[in-house]
Amino acid sequence: MRFLKSMVGRKVVMAVSGLVMLLFVIAHLLGNTTIFAGSDSLNSYAEKLHDLALLIWTYRPIMIAAVFLHVFFGIQLTAENYKAKPDSYAIRKSLNSTFAGRSMIWTGVLLGVFIIYHLLQFTFQVTDPAISADRNFDVFGRPDVFHMVVRTFRRSAVALVYIGSMIALAFHLSHGIQSFIQTLGLNNEKTLPFFQKYGTLVAVIISAGFISIPVVILAGILKG
């Protein structure tokens, strides 16, 4: 496949897989907000989601493919870019590039590690089997996801890992959103500043949304 060897082709794969993950992240955040309405709300949401087997088994392979392609090409492109710039300047002044843009590989790797930890914690539930939702049920006999989440985030070290990772996500997306729009050729000189500004705003909103969950639990507002 020549497309997957070319510069632009691989960037298009990065952009599309990034967009797929972005859409997932938004849907995931909206679903998670049910936690604010309490135990009944989150547990019934989780149960309904698991009943939709067709949905789950369609998006899971798509997500696995997206993560795999994104990580693979992200590392490959970055390695090539380092090779293309072997010597640094004695003095270097950045004019347009941002810290977020220049650290994509590091925020990306952090997110990759986070995704593994997060899946072990809440999908496979192996980090603390005693509070696993597969073993603890609420009064309606549903897996007690609410209890599991609240118990997990009450440990401040775990909450901090999540908060830190979501800050990394904010950085990754603040460059990533405007970047995928440019890569997919959807820009001109008028739209670019718009997407840069609102891309960052969307990134911060998503990140703040996720962060609010461990914060509210740590602050003792949500109890379980």
Binding site: R2, F3, S6, M7, V8, G9, R10, K11, V12, L77, E80, N81, K83, A84, K85, P86, D87, S88, Y89, A90, I91, R92, K93, S94, L95, N96, S97, T98, G101, R102, M104, H175, Q178, S179, Q182, T183, L184, G185, L186, N187, N188, E189, L192
Partner: protein
């Protein structure tokens, strides 16, 4: 005014270079940056030392030969200005100025501040042209072109091929240069015909010459002496996807 210069000195392609201190005395505000270097060089020659080698030709901002990184910015910090058109009035007495060559793997240093930019030439050989057949000169307006298209093509064609975009890019990518050439030709009816073949060939040549990939940092646009917009990179991306689609359709029909 008096200035302290720190200049990259490197005897040849395989030598290791280093920053060397030179003092520039009684520099006039009206000199251009290159004239200031000329004066420094005259002093070096008078003292029996090797003058600083740097590229230049027209000295009026149109040929794209001058290529100095001044205080960390290709062509210096004045916007949309080649370094030959940068004047000393933008500096003040006592300033320290760092002068370095374009840096990228695809641009090996030949000597001091001169780098070999023929890799850009080789991107052009791969498709930066319109195949023409010899014959009579066509009438001026035989092919009608809308004003909009003519202006877009002109905006892209302003590129003088100096390579500042590559020098500024954290990835050493030639994306803005290549995008300007691809867009300039693809916007005009004569160039449209080969657009798909051209965009594939030129991006492949760019990778083959050791340039990096575009990460959409837009450092290139900020240093371009002609203000070429990164919207042309978006256009290159569109042209590439279009070419891939055409190829896929063709292969399916075969």
């Amino acid at each position: 005014m008096n200035l302290t210069l720190y200049i990259w000195r490197q005897k040849g392609p395989d030598e290791t270079g280093k920053m060397e201190r030179h003092d520039a005395r009684d520099v006039s505000r009206d000199m251009s940056f290159l004239e200031m270097l000329d004066v420094v060089n005259e002093g070096l020659v008078k003292n029996g030392k090797e003058p600083v080698a740097f590229d230049h030709d027209c000295r009026e901002g149109i040929c794209g030969m001058c290529s100095l990184v001044v205080n960390g910015v290709p062509h210096g910090r004045k916007e949309k200005t080649t370094v030959c058109q940068l004047h000393m009035r933008h500096f003040k007495d006592g300033d320290a100025i760092y002068i370095e060559p374009w840096r990228a793997r695809a641009f090996p240093v030949i000597k001091d501040l001169i780098v070999d930019r023929s890799a850009m030439e080789r991107i052009m050989y791969s498709g930066g042209y319109i195949s023409v057949h010899t014959g009579g000169v066509p009438d001026g307006n035989a092919v009608l072109i809308s004003k909009e298209d003519a202006e877009t093509a002109m905006d892209a064609a302003e590129c003088i091929g100096c390579g500042a975009c590559i020098a500024a890019c954290p990835n050493g990518s030639a994306m803005l240069f290549t995008a300007a050439k691809v867009s300039h030709l693809a916007t005009l009816p004569q160039g449209r015909i080969e657009a798909a073949v051209r965009v594939c060939a030129m991006t492949e040549a760019m990778a083959g010459q050791g340039f990096g990939n575009c990460s959409n940092h837009y450092e290139c646009e900020a240093v371009c002496p002609k203000g070429i917009s990164v919207k042309f990179i978006a256009k290159l991306n569109r042209e590439f996807m279009r070419a891939a689609f055409i190829k896929w359709k063709r292969e399916r029909n075969d």
